[in-house]
């Protein structure tokens, strides 16, 4: 049976992927640097989770892909502008990358540069929501690598102690650059660590957008009800290198091929086709997204680059 939410989630993943494919073309063309950490393979986590929060909820994202910010609704030409150093960027061309992208009107509070730096900031934004008596929540994305930062302890402890409305969403893609999860974690799962902070720890199939959506909906409900944070671990995989140009000598081709069989977009497409959607309908969604991406890319490319004197802008208020 057709399900509007499922179709929306499909469109969300197609958008995130199409946006990234165009960015990769820009990188190939030398229009922006290869300092980009592709999110291909992990779209279900970003899209499934962000569909469970409102526009006024807060997002702290990490370096892997732009799926989270895209799913939260940030204008796509703005994102291209940040990478292409164009006036359409969220910083009108000074950003040149992920770290600089913030969009407060949609609750997007940015990325912290150093991974794991966002953990206490998430607790702070959640404390602000709690102090104001609003029912906003904070969703904080991070990888299993950043989960090893000490800042997680500091932030997770107060979030649970003060019952702050945070969803800690760990995208465990198995690899912290070149070091495997098994070689870097004392626990078999990141979610196992939740009990140390007296909060629920949930493991979900990160390749299944509907499953991710459902667990995040539950965590958001818990947070809005004042019951505190939840740690969700989505088991996923990155299909591309840590960065563009990564030789990836650290992992086996077989492992990558095995995970590619669980491509979240392909899997969800199958689900839709089995539930009343036609190939033509899905094709129409893909075409609409392609058109949207083309327009955004053209708009960003047409915008001027900032002159050198703008480098001095914005350092202080």
């Amino acid at each position: 049976m057709k399900n509007d939410l499922w179709a929306t989630l499909y469109r969300g993943m197609v958008r995130a992927n199409a946006w990234e494919q165009q960015l990769l073309r820009f990188i190939e063309q030398g229009l922006t640097s290869g300092f980009y950490h592709a999110g291909r393979g992990q779209e279900a986590v970003a899209v499934g989770a962000c569909a469970a929060v409102r526009d006024d909820d807060y997002l702290l994202y990490d370096h892997r892909g732009l799926g989270q910010a895209i799913a939260k609704g940030i204008p796509l030409d703005r994102l291209y502008g940040d990478f292409l150093t164009r006036e359409t960027g969220t910083t009108r061309g000074l950003g040149a990358g992920i770290v600089h992208i913030a969009w407060p009107e949609l609750g997007i509070l940015g990325q912290s540069g150093t991974l794991g730096g966002a953990f206490p900031i998430a607790s702070g934004a959640a404390l602000a929501a709690q102090m104001r008596g609003s029912d906003q929540v904070v969703i904080c994305f991070f990888g299993e690598g950043a989960a090893n930062r000490g800042t997680f302890l500091e932030a997770a402890n107060v979030a649970s102690l003060w019952k702050l409305p945070v969803i800690w969403l760990c995208e465990n893609n198995g690899w912290s650059v070149s070091v495997s999860f098994e070689a870097s974690s004392a626990t078999a799962n990141i979610a196992d660590r939740a009990s140390a902070y007296n909060m629920p720890g949930v493991i979900v199939d990160g390749m299944d957008v509907v499953a991710v959506h459902e667990v995040v909906v539950a965590a958001v409900a818990r947070a809005r009800a004042g019951e505190g944070p939840t740690l969700i671990e989505a088991k996923t995989y990155r299909f591309r290198g840590h960065y563009e140009g990564d030789p990836q000598t650290y992992r086996e081709d077989e492992e990558l091929e095995m995970w590619k069989k669980k491509d979240p977009i392909v899997l969800h497409e199958k689900r839709l086709l089995e539930n009343g959607y036609s190939e033509a309908e899905l094709g129409a969604i893909r075409n609409e997204v392609a058109e949207e991406i083309a327009v955004a890319a053209d708009r960003a490319l047409a915008a001027p680059k900032p002159p050198m004197e703008r480098v001095f802008e914005g350092v202080l208020a």
Binding site: H100, A102, G110, P120, L127, G150
Partner: protein
């Protein structure tokens, strides 16, 4: 007469009263009132929601404050001792200092970080350091320090009103120094250098805990017939050096006195700028008096480490002998 520590307390109280978005957070700032009692009685007056006892986690304190600031609050974080700020260094330099620039001003970071700094209280390493240069070297931060109760009272309020992050260094060995506080109006803005006393033969520049030392030095020099102009920088980033240049051009001799190690300390930057701006007015090289380039020594030896009257007078002799 009010102590410097009490003056900061009064400044915080006034800011908390005037703006409900002002919060105080840190280790032991609530029930205890801080290890130096600077936040004494604030929690009983303003409640546990605004005067927040945090876990012992400096990175967490700063990050939480950043999150609060992003959503409209004006947190004042206490770092219990200077050396305890290092666990929060990433939050301060990579997040707090940069988020405004990263977002081109879309995000505002009105956070004050209070740091009791410097030695002279018989403490040890991590409790006696002067680490202001790390923060002055980071664009996106404002860095100030007070030397007397009146400045402490007003500068704290001005720092809280700033829309930028302010690292507020408090000269801990001067917490108990007493002076009058004028509660009517501030005498200077947050980022202005003060000429503490005028003189004609030599300019002695200092800030924070060594301003009192500088005043004592000037008194001794006066007895020897040397007229020393004493300047209190107050603002370490941005620097306000126009009055310093004017003074150097007048006296022709400059000594800079601070507690931090002279090696790559603020004195080096100031000396360099004075040399660039006032070269033809100088009768002697700009000299520096400060801490040695060593870890802070044991308490029983700190009197040899801290730049004092004798070491400063010696530098002044050298400036005149040149």
């Amino acid at each position: 007469m009010i102590t410097l520590g009490k003056a900061i307390n009064m400044g915080l109280r006034r800011a908390l009263t005037e703006d409900p978005k002002v919060l105080v957070m840190g280790e032991d700032v609530g029930k205890l009132g801080g290890v130096f009692r600077v936040t004494e009685n604030l929690q009983s007056e303003f409640g546990e929601d605004r005067i927040i006892d945090t876990p012992l986690a400096e990175s967490g304190i700063l990050g939480t404050a950043i999150g609060l600031a992003l959503r409209g609050y004006r947190p004042v974080c206490e770092i219990q001792f200077d050396g305890f700020v290092y666990p929060a260094f990433d939050q301060i330099t990579s997040q707090l200092a940069k988020m405004h620039a990263r977002s081109l001003g879309t995000l505002k970071l009105p956070v004050v970080v209070r740091i009791p700094y410097g030695g002279g209280i018989g403490a040890v390493e991590h409790h006696s350091e002067s680490n202001e240069t790390y923060f002055a070297h980071t664009a996106g931060l404002r860095v100030v320090t007070c030397s007397n109760p009146n400045d402490a009272y007003w500068m704290m309020q001005q720092a809280i009103q700033s829309d930028d992050p302010v690292i507020f260094f408090e000269p801990k060995r001067r917490y108990w120094d007493k002076a009058e506080v004028n509660e009517e109006a501030p005498s200077l803005g947050l980022h202005e250098t003060r000429t503490v006393q005028e003189g004609s033969d030599l300019t002695l520049i200092s800030y924070g805990p060594t301003v009192r030392t500088a005043i004592e030095v000037a008194a001794v020099c006066a007895k020897e017939g040397r007229s020393v102009e004493v300047m209190d920088l107050r603002t370490l980033s941005p620097l306000d050096l126009a009055p310093v240049f004017e003074s150097a051009q007048k006296t022709g001799r400059v000594v800079i006195l601070h507690e931090a190690p002279t090696f790559l300390g603020l004195g080096a930057e100031i000396a360099s700028q004075i040399t660039e701006e006032c070269f033809y007015s100088l009768d002697a090289p700009v000299l520096r008096v400060g801490g040695f380039n060593v870890p802070y020594p044991p308490a029983r030896l700190e009197e040899h480490y801290l730049p004092d009257l004798d070491r400063t007078l010696d530098a002044i002799d050298r400036a005149f002998a040149f």
